[in-house]
């Protein structure tokens, strides 16, 4: 079964996992400590994320570390769209700030 990025990020726990390992590679146990769910459930989420090729495994000795991988260039447009939304959001915020400053100096 083919999995896609949207499916990967549709689940809040998986989004939580992504934001955790975005900062640094982590072992499944270290990841599981951050969630109120079973180690098995975390393993399942990690398997889905791996199948979506959003995370990859790296072996250090006996430990498996999961790290974020975004190399699927065919999906770059999705990331660009995300980036666009960030700017959009940021500018909307600036609109509010400008309005506030203008009102305060009247």
């Amino acid at each position: 079964m083919r999995r896609d990025v949207f499916q990967a990020i549709a689940d809040p726990t998986r989004r939580g996992i992504i934001s955790l390992i975005a900062l640094q590679a982590m072992t499944p146990n270290a990841i599981a400590e951050h969630f109120d769910t079973t180690r098995q459930a975390i393993s399942k989420h990690l398997r889905i994320l791996t199948e979506c090729r959003l995370v990859k495994q790296a072996y250090t000795g006996r430990e498996i570390y999961y790290q974020l991988e975004i190399t699927k260039m065919q999906e770059i447009d999705q990331w660009l769209d995300q980036y666009r939304k960030i700017w959009e959001n940021r500018f909307n915020e600036l609109d509010n700030v400008l309005l506030t400053i203008k009102n305060n100096t009247k």
């Binding site: 934001s19 109120d36 260039m73 990331w79 660009l80 995300q82 939304k85 940021r90 203008k102």
Partner: protein, 167 residues
């Protein structure tokens, strides 16, 4: 919000550039201040629910802005912006780098060059941001970083995630 304000986001993959244009309902001096004064930047630069927090700002050519993007759980992503060219109320050229809390630049992460121009149109101001990437990997890494923030943005109603995370 005023929906008549221009917003344009275009990507040139061949030249590896992104151009963002946006119109603001304020005259140039105020918009310039919003981009160059840390106390105003802190109010809007971070996408919600993240907050920007300035540690130091030395606004002059050769100076820098050292700040953190602070996440809802208190996580910090530090950045250092170096100002290369400053033409008062007209143009700003700089270089963005990922850094640590002490302002040391992370040399493993890409740095990105940008140019911002401010054009007055009476009561409104057109801001154009031109971002230049050395290679595709750099663009990708920047988008990946943006993705992290975008992720936070997508989780704006953090209620959905919080029950899943331990207190």
């Amino acid at each position: 919000m005023n929906n008549n304000l221009v917003f344009d986001f275009s990507v040139n993959k061949e030249n590896k550039t992104i151009t963002v244009k946006r119109e603001f309902a304020a005259a140039v001096p105020l918009v310039w201040d919003a981009y160059t004064k840390s106390e105003i930047l802190d109010q809007w630069w971070a996408p919600k629910p993240w907050k920007a927090r300035t540690k130091t700002m030395d606004f002059r050519e050769g100076g820098s802005w050292h700040y953190a993007m602070v996440g809802p759980a208190g996580e910090e992503h530090w950045s250092l912006t170096n100002y290369i060219t400053i033409q008062n109320q007209k143009k700003l050229i700089g270089l963005d780098a990922f850094a640590d809390a002490d302002g040391n630049v992370n040399k493993d992460m890409p740095q990105s060059k940008w140019e911002i121009t401010f054009t007055g149109q009476g009561e409104t101001t057109l801001v154009q941001i031109y971002m230049i990437f050395d290679d595709l990997a750099q663009l990708e890494a920047t988008i990946e970083m943006g993705f992290k923030e975008g992720l936070a943005l997508a989780m704006e109603g953090l209620d959905e995630l919080l029950p899943a995370l331990k207190k």
